[in-house]
Symmetry: C2
Subunit: 476 residues, 2 copies
């Protein structure tokens, strides 16, 4: 930094260029080619994931005193016990296993201007828990252990663009949380850097426009969670030009207006922040770390740790053999959810501007207790046999909504490095004109512009809401 | 909220009115009257604070298994053990006692327009640890226990303006952390609400302009920490009119320019946020809760829990007898720091705009590990007998700076409800023209406008930095 550097006004930054890259999917051929490449990379590698008893996990074991499941090196993550006390919701106290991975990982997009348009260097990456095994992933997806080579495998490709000064400019850089029901205080650095250098090509990596990535996002299980969360943090500017042709012209126009601060919002941002503060302050959410062998209502066998009623998830052991990850073969625990999740975003045209309905939701693993979640976020199977009033608000509305109200619908995988076949249906529903604008307690309508502003900072939107923001951005 | 409510553009909000209230201290008589009132309130009440052995604490005791010091009701707070591992700084690991008070309290200013200018209803409040015993405090200063009357004392006066819908408009509302070296994840709601109602007067409360409060802030131990942190979150607009007369005209003009986004900054806000993310992600800060009886390097006697070398602080017992608090007499533990703290803010004119030098500082009790601290924050006594390279950066600069560079200098008390005589010297120093603009690692120059933007959100500025922001705002 030069001493005599001129003071910088806070301009719009790279927003317009991101939007241009997002609008650059006119060419269907490029999407088809990307899909073919992803399939070819899947075929080019061998991989096998089999469930094994805990006793066959190498270098992983249950600690004698606590029953916590950890790696001998003390690194990667541990499975521990967690007790949550809260006055929010129907259940005042519960115990559960939870993944404790306190280090901050990096999810990074390397971008570069090619023919005047920003392109992202996307990776065809195998992860053991993935449906489809290989999914479209950020350029770099590295835990701190990866970065320090605790795997004793190869170093992380392209990491130097994110760590070495002068190799790239930072366009996006923010810590965001991950699943608060499964991870204890986990957060990752979501980062986008732009380089002007010639970047060494590699067959597992491909330059794609954001528009191309967004097209793949509409397909099931193609774009991984890490890529989705980074995409959600990209501060798109309001697109210029005509919206895409199709039956939902007014919706698309309202979505574009929603990206523009000058169009106004139902609640000023000051009120949104105060509502978030109030909801956090008004409720109690107290958590305790427990030894895993003291967790009530869960049982451990030779093969799994499971909930007594078969709800929620199990912890299992897995043996992975692969040719495209850091090392060729390893074993590890995975968290295997029971049932497909549902993350639904209700959106509504209010005064010509599309608003999204977010829910201030407590999750035991969040460092602050509450983050903003989709309008509905649950695993419907968990509610079987429970009284009707335990069912989440708007769940029945979403499951019964007519097809023509659905603007986005795809099944996506959650983090395949820790979760086994964790699928979630992501859906965006435009509610009917007489749907109430008045929000129930704990819910609020926000514009996309407000959401983009919150996503400059940590711990406002949870990972499911961020995935839906990425999906919504694929629609303009 | 009406369904047909018009969409709101995100306007400047109440900033200009706050600035007007801050500029309204022309009348020295009003400051003198406020001081006289504060003295009178001090004289009107009886209070006595004496140190007692732990055995004389009523309803407080050490748990048999953990040695943690807690209240029989399970409420208020506990003194527990805390172990910190970090690669940031010179000490890779330490143990310490820490105050665990997980509930979110409220620090609230009730404001009202009187003769066209916003006035704050300030309280003359006794707290057991205060120097001067009675200090100027927010209208409401309530733990959740207070609000639920666990004290079995009177309810909190004026709380209804902050909790009952429709009584007041929210102008500021954000959760902020407190001392991360003494509190485990403590945070309070900093809130300012404006009412148009007639407010019932009470002799312990007084309507004051922000300018009057700022004048008292220049005196030692008059404005308590809770009032200072709320003041720091007030989003002042750039003042209009001429700066105050005096020898530092260019400084005052640069300070006013620093409040205006259009004047630019050394680093764009996007870079500031990325620097914050990078610093947080790059360092390790891992903490563990420990039983207090397993804390290494600290000793418990009948009267105190103290560090083996006499550094840092002690935990003591206190008996309080008072006529102006919720109940007349009680006992409680207090944390008694050893030595007066120092919180110094280096400020520098860069391109005509005053910038403040903030330090990304880890503290074991912060939920995110790092917050922005003053340029220097330490208790100088803690470094006696240690090698020179353990001394904090800029400490020697600050202690040796010539008097004419000091723009603010006052000793202030930290939270008197938990700390005993915790004094800290708050000082703002305008560095000389050849002071480097280049920042050492972990430091960055920000404008006041950028600081104000960060203070809309939680966990960016620590409580000492916020106190200094409040002090700095008393200078324009």
């Amino acid at each position: 930094m030069a001493v005599d550097r001129i003071l910088t006004p806070d301009g719009p930054g790279p927003s317009a260029r991101f939007t241009e890259s997002g609008s650059a999917a006119e060419d269907r051929a490029s999407v088809k080619a990307a899909l073919a490449w992803l399939t070819a990379r899947r075929d080019a590698h061998t991989f096998e994931v089999v469930q094994v008893p805990f006793a066959e996990l190498q270098e992983w074991s249950f600690q004698a005193d606590t029953g916590n499941l950890g790696h001998h090196s003390g690194r990667f993550f541990t499975v521990e016990g967690h007790r949550v006390h809260t006055d929010y919701g129907k259940v005042p106290r519960w115990d559960q296993p939870i993944i404790n991975q306190p280090e901050i990982g990096m999810l990074g997009f390397l971008v570069k201007e090619i023919d005047g348009v920003l392109h992202c260097l996307m990776q065809a990456k195998m992860e053991p828990g993935n449906i489809n095994v290989v999914q479209l992933s950020p350029t770099v997806q590295a835990t701190r252990s990866n970065q320090k080579r605790v795997h004793r495998g190869s170093s992380v490709r392209y990491l130097e663009y994110f760590t070495d000064p002068g190799r790239a400019d930072v366009l996006v850089d923010v810590l965001q949380s991950e699943q608060g029901s499964w991870f204890l205080g986990k957060r990752n650095r979501n980062i986008v850097v732009e380089t002007a250098e010639d970047v060494q090509p590699h067959p597992d990596y491909r330059w794609m426009t954001i528009g191309d990535i967004q097209e793949l996002l509409r397909l099931d299980n193609m774009v991984n969670m890490d890529a989705r969360t980074v995409l959600s943090c990209v501060p798109f500017a309001r697109p210029t030009g005509a919206p895409p042709p199709g039956p939902h012209g007014e919706f698309h126009a309202g979505l574009r207006r929603s990206m523009a601060p000058e169009e106004g919002s139902l609640h000023p941002t000051r009120s949104v922040l105060s509502w978030f503060t109030d909801t956090t302050a008004r409720h109690e959410l107290r958590t305790e770390r427990l030894p895993l062998n003291r967790v009530e209502g869960w049982h451990r066998t030779a093969d799994t740790i499971s909930h007594a009623e078969g709800r929620h998830f199990s912890i299992i052991g897995a043996r992975v053999t692969a040719g495209s990850r850091e090392v060729l073969s390893w074993t590890q625990p995975l968290l295997a959810p029971h049932g497909v999740g549902l993350a639904a975003l209700l959106v509504r045209n209010i005064g010509g501007v599309v608003h999204v309905l977010l829910h201030a939701r407590p999750e035991g693993g969040f460092p602050h207790g509450i983050e903003l979640a989709p309008s509905v976020q649950c695993t419907p199977d968990n509610y079987r046999g429970l009284p009707d009033d335990h069912r989440p608000r708007f769940l029945d509305y979403v499951t019964g909504v007519p097809r023509e109200r659905v603007r986005f619908d795809a099944v996506q995988s959650e983090e395949g490095g820790r979760f086994h076949h964790a699928e979630c249906r992501y859906t965006v529903i435009e509610v009917e004109e007489d749907f109430p604008v008045e929000e129930p307690e704990g819910y609020q309508w926000l514009t996309l512009h407000q959401v983009t502003g919150l996503l400059r900072h940590s711990h406002y939107l949870n990972v499911q809401a961020r995935s839906l923001v990425a999906c919504l951005h694929s629609l303009w």
